[in-house]
């Protein structure tokens, strides 16, 4: 069941980076610039165990938001979007579980391949946790004008 409007999905798929916001244990929002990897109607991310603080925050509170706002990072596309999501993490296969995302990842950042070739030098970087975001609500500014009211959709509405 698709959960992202097509223009939103296309924008997220094009974005080199976006902002993942989690809720810290003290209730503050914590923002992580991160590369979104779209897979169908879900947004995936991976996080090295070296950067596992966000994982702890997500496990404690899976309510997150993800946004694409950097116009430099979306190529010829336009628009800005924020998606509130429920997040889950997969930690069963830290060593290779993330590799299914590699084609999408290297499309956004070919340098990833060079880094993987140096895996021996940086083994912990490639011990990675998968983060899955299931979209719930979407705020979309088609022309990027956030000084105007966004178009809002709820996941279930998209499929109607």
């Amino acid at each position: 069941m698709p959960a992202l409007p097509y223009p939103v999905a296309r924008l997220i798929d094009a974005a080199l980076v976006g902002e993942l916001t989690v809720v810290g244990s003290d209730g503050r929002p914590i923002v992580y610039p991160i590369v979104p990897l779209l897979w169908g109607d879900r947004i995936f991310m991976t996080s090295s165990v070296l950067d596992s603080a966000k994982i702890a925050h997500i496990k404690a509170n899976p309510r997150v938001s993800f946004s694409v706002t950097n116009t430099d990072a979306i190529g010829t596309h336009t628009g800005k979007v924020t998606v509130q999501c429920d997040a889950r993490v997969a930690e069963d296969d830290l060593d290779t579980g993330w590799e299914k995302l590699l084609p999408n990842w290297k499309r956004k950042d070919p340098n990833t391949l060079a880094l993987i070739k140096e895996r021996l030098a940086y083994p912990l970087i490639f011990e990675r946790v998968l983060i899955e975001l299931t979209p719930r609500r979407t705020w979309f500014w088609p022309d990027g004008r956030t000084d105007q009211a966004p178009q809002t959709t709820v996941a279930a509405e998209v499929a109607r």
Binding site: S65, D92, Y122, I125, R137, T146, P150
Partner: protein, 570 residues
């Protein structure tokens, strides 16, 4: 107040809302197919049916504290309670600076040296930022807003974004970030800054925030590779937490052998063996070589090198994690520390390994003294040991005082090459050995020198006064040029003077590689991420010149032994 929900829907007659497959296929503007290929990555059995309208009516989830064990020692890397990752509330004078992560994650959370004032000043460079807050429904919200930063007053102002309500007193995060897309794909120049504070209403629908904490990182200040070593604490706690949760010890897939291999910097043994083999080659040509002592020397050099790197890494690791103050660590040291620290559970094995190496080196050294001892060889050995200790060991830390390059050039040049020859010749030195040791030593020094260039900002912050920290770009490039030119010119002059065999001119085949390193340095001096290729090429330069010199000597030796054409090749 939560953001206003259910504003006019996105669906419009001309633009179907759902990502229908046909639309994906027709979406020529899309950079790549959106449809996934193959099965999605495996995750625990999901509740994907929950795509029905989850609004504010969704029950509040329990929010337990993360299962993060307490660190063994007080550390600013502790995950809770105040974030992003610091254990204690940060004051306005404290901050959290984040080194970057791998390509996907561009940030992490580590204690650093960016003050709130610096963070606000950094934010002032951005006209827009992401305003984040947590709504009443428990979900965070992000909205891109135009910001007005008054750095002198430490105030950030913005207008309430249309369609949202932010209650006065709400804690917000304001995050500005930057990447530079590359023509060939990917991006660099990653940097970001986040400030936190409570919003105060201002007239005309505007808000003001006086930041109370900040988190910032830029790869120009702290290159990716250098940042890895700083977050070993997070990785360690993660595995500890995972192990506790599953009642089974979970470790990274890094065998003890591999961990120790990495910790010892075994691949860099070539820096040791190139001058040693060249010393033996000179000895062979001089007819003073002894096979038994030659083998002992090879073992001795290997043991000293391993001991040095393992111990150096351990010192750095302790330095980084001991007081938990990453601002005291630098990129270079944390890279080394990372090599050791990646071993995690194997760390306890490091001191015995280092001690074992030094013990073996001591025994082998005594054997050498017994077999071919001489005051000259002993003096060189003492100098070598002193350099290995002083290079990375407190309180000397020559590498932090702008003497690292000279130490490396001396140790991996004259000390090793001349020392090898002196042992073989029972104390005699030769002009040929001395002359040959200079270019190979210079290239070793250049390796250290160039390696410090991308880390110079972090090194400067940590008080590590390497030469690139002390020098401007122009002087640093000039220093590289002079050292490199000297290395090759000495070889040519040595041959011209009849002190070196003609085949050593094979080393000149590495000149194009040297020019490439020089060009990359010049063009990317201020872009650490782009210097990676230059660093790799520079390491190859040292190895290639060394191998070409060895090849030249093999030709000369073969000529001398088998062809009897020494006069020509001499």
């Amino acid at each position: 107040m939560s953001p206003r929900l259910r504003l006019p829907g996105l669906r419009r007659p001309s633009e179907p809302a759902g990502p229908e497959p046909a639309e994906f296929e027709a979406a020529a503007a899309a950079p790549a197919p959106l449809e996934p290929k193959g099965a999605a990555p495996a995750l625990p059995a999901p509740e994907r049916a929950a795509l029905t309208t989850p609004g504010p009516e969704v029950p509040e989830p329990e929010v337990p504290e993360p299962e993060v064990p307490e660190p063994a020692a007080p550390s600013t890397e502790a995950m809770e309670p105040s974030g992003p990752d610091a254990p204690a509330p940060l004051t306005a004078e404290q901050s959290v600076a984040a080194p970057a992560e791998a390509s996907v994650d561009t940030v992490s959370e580590e204690p650093g040296s960016v003050t709130v004032a610096e963070g606000v000043a950094c934010l002032a460079a951005y006209p827009r930022a992401v305003l984040s807050w947590v709504g009443e429904d428990g979900y965070p919200m992000n909205v891109d807003v135009e910001i007005e930063v008054r750095a002198a007053e430490s105030i950030v102002r913005f207008a309430e974004p249309p369609g949202f309500r932010i209650a006065p007193g709400t804690t917000v995060a304001i995050t500005a970030s930057h990447v530079r897309p590359l023509a060939a794909g990917g991006f660099d120049e990653r940097r970001h800054v986040t400030v936190w504070g409570q919003v105060s209403p201002r007239p005309r629908g505007r808000y003001a925030v006086t930041p109370s904490r900040v988190w910032a990182w830029g790869e120009d200040d702290l290159p990716l590779a250098a940042s890895y070593g700083r977050r070993l604490g997070q990785a360690r706690r993660y595995f500890e937490s995972l192990s506790v949760g599953r009642s089974v010890t979970i470790r990274p897939r890094l065998s003890a052998r591999l961990a120790l291999f990495r910790a010892s910097h075994a691949p860099f043994l070539r820096a040791t063996f190139v001058p040693l083999l060249l010393g033996l080659a000179v000895a062979i040509r001089a007819g003073v070589v002894d096979l038994v002592t030659a083998l002992i020397m090879l073992a001795l050099a290997g043991a000293v090198h391993l001991g040095l790197n393992v111990a150096g890494g351990l010192f750095d690791l302790l330095h980084v994690s001991g007081d938990g103050d990453a601002r005291q660590s630098s990129a270079r040291s944390t890279t080394v520390a990372g090599a050791v620290g990646d071993a995690l559970a194997q760390v306890a094995r490091i001191p015995p390994l280092a001690l074992g190496c030094y013990l073996a080196a001591g025994l082998l050294g005594l054997a050498l003294l017994g077999l071919r001892g001489s005051p000259e060889a002993t003096a060189v050995a003492v100098l070598g040991v002193a350099l290995t200790i002083a290079y990375g060991t407190p309180p000397f830390k020559l590498g932090d005082r702008g003497l690292g390059e000279v130490s490396a050039a001396t140790g991996f040049g004259p000390v090793l090459l001349l020392g090898t020859y002196a042992v073989q010749s029972r104390g005699a030195f030769s002009a040929e050995a001395l002359l040959l040791s200079i270019p190979i030593g210079l290239l070793a020094g250049i390796t250290v020198y160039v390696g410090a260039i991308p880390n110079r900002v972090a090194d400067a912050r940590a008080g590590r006064m390497t030469l690139p920290v002390r020098w401007s770009k122009a002087i640093a490039i000039l220093g590289f040029d002079l050292a490199l030119a000297a290395a090759f010119v000495i070889l040519v002059l040595g041959v011209a003077a009849g002190l070196l065999p003609i085949p050593v001119l094979l080393a000149l085949a590495a000149v194009p590689l040297a020019m490439r390193v020089r060009s990359d340095l010049n063009h990317h001096y201020d872009t650490p991420s782009a210097l990676t290729a230059a660093l790799a090429a520079n390491a190859r330069l040292h190895m290639n010149v060394g191998l070409l010199l060895i090849a030249g000597y093999l030709v000369a030796i073969a000529d001398q032994i088998f062809l009897m054409r020494a006069p020509f090749l001499r």
